[in-house]
Symmetry: D2
Subunit: 266 residues, 4 copies
């Protein structure tokens, strides 16, 4: 029997890619779409490449749940909608699989408690790319032994914020593992301000912004006489799909509420 | 009380670097040198930078053991001498820490059995660089998820053999983890022979040899839309020293006989 | 007065991108499309994002020339059509700008002679990416001083042929400049066949094929104690457009017939 | 007839390497050493690996010139001594080849004028590595076409100053060629100060300092859809020697006074 998935955000770029990959997965069935409009229509008629007449759209999760009995709600909308949808899903016994980095620690706490109370599992994944998650995880593991770390994150120049969320998350994960210390020469001098990058618990983060880039990060870890470099390049949105499928399958087998794909990757 | 270490190969480049780093470690004492000559002399008088009158040289392990009571024998000589020295050490209750990639599977089996019989631990490490070992370990772990792999190893052009031992060892470790398959396009054509590199269980290995290089390896792991690159650069012999110390400390706490530093790194 | 450009191959991926960028250029006007069908229709009605009613389609170059008086024919179709179209263009006094790597040396000779006879300039560019052309040009220049070279080209695994055309072209350009010699150790041994890559005049070429990759090439040049690495990454078809515009402007000012964008980049 | 070279700074690390490489060059003879002590002794007796009795030491350039008639003075001492030695050399008709980045613009002007007045050529080279000079030169050339640039320079953490002299010199050379503009998003926000690196005429420079590194620099140049990366790794002091020899040979054939090896590399 296949896993019945409802999806919120199906008309977005991540969402429509997810619909496509779930339709190709033999153990997963997309049974419905949750949206803020188009109630009663079918997904294919909104311009998304989907089975004709196959996937009905609902604007109310309760009605969707009642009629389509989903096992999982895949949530790919914005942080505002995510929290309420995830909470409602848990209350209805539907496992939420949420792709966002925008939830506050308080919101995550509330969802975690509700999950435990309802005995319904769920996942929040700020990053569904397995490669990116492995980069972060390995960097943290390596920093126990190679404790001097600099993070280089590289993005197209349409990105306003620096450093990137992934770079900060990587630094946080490293901070949990390495022996904290201030790096570089004690008498270090910046003759041009900013040369040595941003500080994070003694580590350094450098943000590169160039028009041709996509999304890339390299973590440099060093000890005496050696350098370990762990780099991830995202070339296409497709790279998120294996993580989406992995998360959907995981919540069917577990009642844990998990924050971060790194916790379900061995 | 400090760990009493005897060292074989102390006059070589790795050996003299190891003597130096052990003398700086507060929990380790270099109590003797095993050599094929200079019996009765002291290490500093052979040109090695060591404490004057501090480290006596023996040509017989039995006599060394009897007089100096070492806990550990650090073995940094060539494969020919290594096996007999390690066997003798185990028989005498001394833990061998061996740095060589030249032992046959049969020799390793014999040492493993003797270790169990004597209830004395030991380690054989083909590579003492923690960074290199992490590169191999992470590559194997990542290949479960990103199963298409190419290995690029880069060395100075005085290296005769290709691919390098580390590249082959990496491929072996990946083979244990990933789902085996032949990579590339099924109709792939090499218009110049060798372009696609050496095959190893469907993976590819490429050996680069250039005069200016030292010792470098990069493992490329890829899935749809993404690339994870794990690279290690050895710039200096110093990079082997933390692994030497880690191995010496490990055998004091364990009766296991371990092949590969990756098995004692968490 | 703007440059009047006719384009062949306007409905392809390169072609439609070129139409877009030329419409944005103030000194260029797309006056017509040459196609094998849709005679008399307008480009926008074939599904290409173009001005409504603005760009007429012709199936005969003579008629197109007569009615639209183009200065330049931008040729982005396949090698079969390219030669005849370019020849006809030259005969009609239209400057051909051709993007293909598929023309034979004989075809190139014929076009060069015809260009001289007609006193009409033209360009054939196997690669319109300025970054890729600079990579090749710099590699050739550097090989005079750093004469040991290995070329790594990396593409998605849908690419059947290896090495890539760009890698071979790079090696040819280097061969013109460096002092020829066989690289590596004279007693070099491949324990697995292909490890050392494909040979090209003593240099080595390595072809990497992985599912997530796009199109990348790195040229490693080395001398004693140092390494110079020149790498180009193509992330998007947009990278060809500045070269297309540069070529169009160049042929308006020159009567030369040029093979390779590297010859018009200073 | 070979080129007669006197060397100042022969007992330093660069100097003793230069003596060695010049002794191996068939067209060059090291005829004397200029030093601040050891007058009348021979170089080999100061601990440098040199021909026994072959290279006399002088503390006065005039006497050295008179007795040994050098064509060239290779100056590898510190900036304080360099200026006076180079000036004296020019006055005596000896061509100075100077390896330092510490001379002021005023000092360079004075030497240039004196060189013209004396009709004696000379070179000042802040960096003798041909690979590093090519990296800078190519980066400047490429910035005409790929005008968005970020420079990453990477050194061991014993280096106090950032950014490195080579990074600043690279940026200066690029500034001469590219169309000046401020890079990145106009509304760019640094959530951690320094993330976007140091500014140099709208470009960005990032300085990485890690214990295992040697001396490395990578210049990233980008346009729409593409990235060109030009990287140089210095692994060993040997990499400076070809530039030293090239400079010595150059000044024999030219009366120009040149600043920067890039001006004699074609």
């Amino acid at each position: 029997m296949s896993i019945r998935v409802a999806i919120a955000g199906a008309r977005g770029r991540m969402g429509s890619a997810a619909v496509k990959v779930m339709m190709e997965a033999q153990d997963i069935e997309v049974v419905a779409v949750l949206d803020y409009k188009y109630d009663g229509m079918f997904l294919h008629s909104t311009g998304v490449d989907a089975e004709r007449g196959g996937i009905p759209i609902y604007t109310m999760l309760e009605k969707l749940a009642d009629e389509q009995k989903p096992d999982v709600l895949l949530e790919l909308t914005d942080p505002d909608a995510v929290f309420n949808n995830a909470k409602s899903a848990l209350a209805l016994g539907i496992r939420p699989v949420v792709g966002t980095s925008g939830l506050s620690p308080e919101s995550i706490s509330i969802l975690t408690e509700l999950s435990a109370a309802q005995r319904v599992g769920g996942i929040i994944a700020p990053n569904f790319s397995i490669g990116a998650v492995l980069m972060m995880k390995f960097s943290a593991m390596a920093s126990r032994y190679l404790g001097d770390v600099e993070i280089l994150e590289m993005h197209h120049d349409k990105k306003v914020d620096s450093p990137s969320g992934t770079a900060v998350k990587t630094a946080e994960m490293i901070m949990q593992e390495r022996q904290s210390h201030v790096q570089g020469h004690p008498d270090e001098k910046e003759h041009r301000s900013g040369a040595r990058g941003a500080d994070f618990d003694g580590m350094k983060i450098h943000s590169i912004r160039l028009p041709g880039l996509l999304a890339h990060q390299e973590v440099l870890l060093s000890g005496a006489g050696e350098l370990l470099s762990i780099r991830h390049d995202s070339f296409d949105r497709k790279c998120f799909m294996p993580g989406v499928l992995m998360a959907i399958r995981y919540v069917m087998d577990s009642r844990d509420f998990v924050y971060g794909l790194e916790n379900i990757i061995e």
